[in-house]
């Protein structure tokens, strides 16, 4: 569990970081942010980056700011930054509710929001948040900057549409309108484990009817995503047992779950149904 040899770089600016990335991308150059996934993988020698570009000293990447109705989260903002709400509205509360499900306290002090998105583990809570809320992901490279919609960002397990020379510099989440209700549920064997499945739901109630329903599912499929059919079962319906059950059934039916030696597809599908319903109940009760 000693990593294979690598060259270490510690740039101070984004420009230097993306220049280094451009120079070494073809030689398996990798960005090091919190290192909570990459470093263990290197210790197992499953990842052997020849170059490691450490962005922890890069100025300006550690900020959280609100702009244009969105919360902008820089590349070195740690999970722990969200333990207390970072914004007064529903989004701040939502992120605080979700963050305590991420691994364990020491890991949350090091791991980063953007690092989780770029790593794209199927069981990442932040990937589920990004998918459910339609995050905008800002990619920087020596070639310039582009904004990628979450739905076009996640591309299967541990895979994104970031080019190899691109740094995920920032993630932008919509500040949810006042009155947005949300619920988050995940199931893992132990507290802090990678979730077998998770559900994030958010909606508003207007005139006794559900509006702007969002249902994001993570952990069950290779990539987190919104489930339109489940959302359709909610929008316009009266909040309550029937609508929630219909949405839960629709979400479960929409799944193409992963399967492994410990966990069957059927079990994951059942979990999705349960978690969506419980998340909706939580949201309604909040």
């Amino acid at each position: 569990m000693k990593p294979a040899p690598f060259q270490y770089h510690a740039p101070k600016t984004v420009a230097d970081a993306v220049a280094l990335l451009a120079a070494h991308a073809g030689d398996d150059g990798r960005i090091l942010a919190g290192g909570q996934s990459l470093v263990p993988t290197m210790a197992f020698r499953l990842a052997r980056p020849a170059h490691l570009i450490d962005i922890n000293n890069v100025e300006g990447l550690d900020c959280i700011a609100e702009a244009g109705g969105r919360l902008c989260i820089g590349a070195t903002v740690r999970h722990a930054a969200f333990h207390k709400p970072v914004t007064a509205g529903p989004l701040g509360a939502l992120l605080s509710a979700v963050v305590r499900h991420i691994a364990h306290y020491p890991i949350r002090q090091r791991g980063t929001f953007c690092g989780s998105l770029a790593h794209a583990d199927p069981a990442s809570e932040w990937c589920c948040v990004a998918a459910a809320l339609d995050a905008e992901l800002v990619a920087r490279s020596a070639r310039g900057e582009r904004v990628i919609q979450a739905a076009a960002f996640f591309d299967g397990a541990m895979t994104t549409t970031l080019a190899e020379d691109e740094l995920l510099a920032e993630a932008r989440l919509p500040l949810l309108p006042e009155g947005t209700k949300f619920g988050f549920q995940e199931f893992s064997r132990r507290a802090g484990d990678f979730a077998i499945a998770m559900a994030l739901v958010a909606f508003r109630v207007e005139g006794g009817r559900i509006a702007d329903a969002r249902i994001g599912i993570g952990g069950a499929e290779p990539a987190a995503r919104r489930i339109a059919k489940a959302e359709a079962a909610l929008d316009g319906a009266a909040p309550g047992k029937d609508a929630f059950a219909a949405a839960a059934d629709a979400a479960a039916a929409a799944m193409d779950p992963m399967e492994d030696v410990n966990t069957s597809a059927g079990y994951r599908r059942d979990l999705v149904r349960t978690l969506v319903r419980r998340a909706l109940e939580d949201a309604a009760a909040a």
């Binding site: 569990m1 000693k2 294979a4 040899p5 263990p40 197992f44 020698r45 199931f187 064997r189 132990r190 507290a191 802090g192 484990d193 990678f194 030696v261 410990n262 966990t263 069957s264 079990y267 059942d270 979990l271 349960t274």
Partner: protein
């Protein structure tokens, strides 16, 4: 005299071991560094079963910092690792060589060893070895048909181990009811915080081979190493430092221990190896995996006429130091606390292509208690007798004691020494408020919750003899040194031994320095395993301390001009019982009077010291019961433990606080085996549980506080202090009690037949019932 705690037997005084440990000054294997040491890294087999085609080490050998690279050809002269108890001819073909010879038989088997200047260079070089294997079909289930073990005609069924008595067939023929079930215990094991470590050193100046990082059984491992290297015992020494958990797996003699010794001898340089966590989960002994097909013959009242158990013991790839210990123990202890008129156990000792298995805390008892208690529940359910009532009807009673069975456990004829098993059950039920609990659970179930309670009874064994010795010396400063052949694996050995010594001698336990795990300090030692240390080494310590006390009183009687029997010793000071504030003399002064140069010696041997021995014909049998209250989430299959009670009769507790620590820690491990921990393999024998993300140790969030009902109602008649062991009672009944509680929560009698009860397995049970 002072009234502060002297650490007498029965006092929950704080641990002597702790000051260095809690101030970061402990010395574990990883902390040991010797000048000019090399670091070893192993190339391990990536395939579960295969012939070795090539192992090309040339590129690795040429890398910077690399001193040597070994394959089997380099260690041809080293025999395979032997059994602790010596030769067992029929198992010899199944022993493991320290590097694979022509075949590999599990993922993780050492194939080549790199020795380099630092651990990084060693790992880089191991990575550069080009090894090719011709993969062979893997056997991954001990209950599958046996296959070929090697090309010499040996089969993967190493043995069929049987124990029993009476005429089982006849009993079944006349039985009113026959209940037959199949139960499966999963593969899991001890996972200490500190991984293994070994530092080999050849002291050429004294011609002594040293192995540092020893644990558990240093003296036994010294014998084995001396045999393997053809050296006299006094030219091999093992040294135990702090040990971060033993649990049966740490401290056995493994290929890595022998490799660092062989390399140190050959290179004349120290060789250090520290196991990483992934290696630990691949290479350190696994345990527990058994599949039982058991049937019981009972009369119309549910009395056990006979038990007939056939089981398959998944040993993994090789038979290691324990030989057939776990499978034999399973046969010998399965009847547990119940009277079984006729009994037969048949254990199929099967090699598979998985990590070799051996003992893990409560070996054979965790497994057999799960199987037996599940069977008792099944009988009760089938006959419509209450689960508790059935146990009462069949339990061995105090009037039956001592209760001998023609069975063998650890080479010792089984004879329960004493105890009131049902009495303890009643105390436990009373503690938990059983009737009120039942009413509450019923009410909650009626309201839709899946909650339930389960009970498991068991008999433990401890204090395996036959003999152990200890040496106590008081120096002229009054300090006491207790030299033992025991081992400290984190359980509080030093504190317990100091308390026993202090109590017998009449000193403050903090005055006693306890030596353990150093083969150069004492000729014999049993180490720390099988819950032996407190019973055996403790009793020997008591003997030695009493001899020193007698000698001190003898000298003091001269000095104080009073007969010895009128004197007492407290806090290291001898005084007249009828005049505590009168003339006195300290033990240090007495030791001074006994210096070899002193005229005051009289006819006595010099030194205020003595060696004490304790001999025991039989083990002692502590006993207990566990009560679990669980809540099941029917939708996810999650099981939460709401309450857990352990009642245990330990005979006499030397330090109740440490006993509670032992039992709490054991419970956490039992809970792991019941609900979380499992070494999973795929059909090709690839291990799936090689990180802590996949091998699920329960954490503080999953483990509730236990309620311990510690009783001392049945002191053992087999040693002067009445002691029974404490090491394993927290583990033994957990699988059984949790399983029974889950049945009750789901109101599905007999639902749980397999451990661990994972959420997915539980969902399958529930969905099966739903369809």
């Amino acid at each position: 005299m002072s009234d502060r705690a002297m650490g007498r037997i029965g006092e929950s005084v704080t641990r002597l071991e702790d000051p260095p440990l809690v101030t970061g000054r402990g010395r574990f294997a990883g902390d040991i560094n010797l000048a000019h040491q090399l670091h070893m890294r192993l190339l391990r087999s990536p395939v579960a079963h295969g012939r070795i085609k090539t192992v090309d080490v040339e590129a690795a050998r040429a890398m910077p910092g690399v001193y040597a690279v070994w394959t089997f050809d380099d260690i041809r002269d080293v025999p395979p690792i032997d059994f602790r108890e010596g030769r067992i001819e029929k198992y010899e073909p199944f022993r493991q060589y320290i590097l694979a010879r022509d075949r590999v038989r599990y993922v993780g088997e050492p194939v080549a060893a790199v020795f380099a200047a630092d651990p990084y260079a060693a790992e880089d070089a191991a990575d550069a070895i080009l090894a090719e294997f011709e993969e062979l079909p893997a056997i991954t289930d001990g209950a599958d048909a046996p296959g070929a073990f090697d090309d010499a005609g040996h089969r993967t069924e190493a043995d069929i181990v049987t124990q029993g008595y009476g005429d089982v067939e006849k009993a079944f023929a006349k039985a009113a009811h026959v209940i037959e079930r199949e139960f499966v215990v999963g593969r899991h094991s001890g996972v200490p915080l500190e991984t293994r470590g070994a530092i080999g050193h050849y002291d050429a100046a004294h011609d002594v081979l040293e192995l540092h990082g020893a644990a558990k059984v240093p003296h036994r491992n010294r014998e084995a190493l001396a045999r393997m290297f053809g050296r006299p015992l006094n030219a091999v020494h093992l040294f135990e430092s702090h040990v971060g958990g033993g649990f049966g797996v740490r401290g056995e003699l493994y290929p890595e221990d022998v490799l660092v010794c062989a390399a140190a001898l050959r290179f004349g340089r120290p060789v250090k190896w520290i196991e990483d966590r992934m290696e630990h989960l691949l290479a350190t002994n696994h345990s527990r995996q058994q599949r039982h097909r058991i049937r019981a013959a009972v009369d119309a009242d549910g009395r056990l006429l006979a038990i007939d158990d056939t089981f398959f013991h998944d040993q993994g790839a090789y038979i290691r130091t324990h030989g057939a210990r776990v499978i034999t123990m399973t046969c010998g202890i399965l009847p547990g606390p119940y009277k079984v008129a006729d009994y037969r156990a048949t254990g199929h000792f099967r090699l598979t292509n998985k990590t070799p298995a051996a003992t893990y805390r409560s070996p054979g008892r965790f497994e057999s208690t799960f199987v037996r208690e599940r069977l008792m529940d099944a009988i009760a359910d089938e006959l419509g007798i209450g689960r508790l009532e059935l146990r009462r009807r069949n339990a061995v009673g105090p009037e039956d004691m001592p209760y001998a069975l023609p069975l063998v456990v650890l080479g010792d004829d089984v004879e329960y020494d004493n105890g009131d098993y049902v009495g303890l059950l009643d105390k436990a039920l009373d503690h938990v408020g059983w009737d009120a609990l039942q009413a509450d659970l019923q009410r909650r179930r009626a309201a839709g919750e899946a909650v339930g309670a389960g009970v498991a009874m068991f008999v433990e064994k401890s204090g395996l003899g036959p003999s152990d010795g200890a040496k106590v010396t008081v120096d002229p400063s009054g300090a006491v040194e207790l030299i033992t052949g025991g081992a400290s694996i984190g359980q509080g050995f030093e504190t317990c031994m100091a308390q026993i010594c202090a109590d017998a001698l009449g000193v403050d336990y903090r005055k006693v320095r306890v030596v353990h795990g150093q083969t150069n300090r004492i000729e014999f030692g049993i180490g720390a395993h099988a819950s032996r240390a407190t019973v055996m080494t403790g009793s020997a310590t008591n003997e030695a301390a009493l001899l020193v006390r007698a000698k001190a009183l003898d000298v003091a009687s001269d000095l104080l001009q009073a007969p010895a029997d009128t004197l007492d010793i407290q806090d290291g000071v001898v005084f007249r019982k009828d005049n505590p504030d009168g003339p006195s003399v300290g033990l240090g002064e007495i030791a001074t009077q006994l210096l070899p140069t002193r005229k005051t010696l009289g006819g006595r041997e010099p030194g205020l010291m003595a060696e004490g021995w304790f001999h025991s014909d039989h083990q002692t049998y502590p006993f207990g019961c566990h009560i679990a209250v669980v809540k099941v989430d029917r939708e996810t299959g999650h099981v939460g433990v709401e309450r857990y009670v352990i009642a245990y009769d330990i005979g006499r507790a030397v330090n109740p606080m440490l006993v509670e620590g032992q039992i709490s820690g054991g419970f956490a491990q039992g809970l792991g085996g019941a609900l979380y921990e499992e070494f999973v393999y795929d059909e090709r024998g690839q291990p799936q549980s090689v990180t802590f993300a996949d091998y699920l140790l329960p954490t503080a969030r999953e483990v509730p506080d236990i309620e311990l009902l510690l009783r001392e109602d049945a002191p053992s008649p087999r040693n002067p202090l009445g002691i029974k062991g404490a090491g394993e009672a927290g583990v033994t009944g957990v699988g059984a009690a949790i399983a029974s509680a889950i049945d009750d929560a789901l109101q599905m009698p007999g639902a749980v037949t397999q451990l661990p009860v994972t959420p997915q397995r539980l969902k399958v049970l529930l969905d099966g019932a739903r369809d």
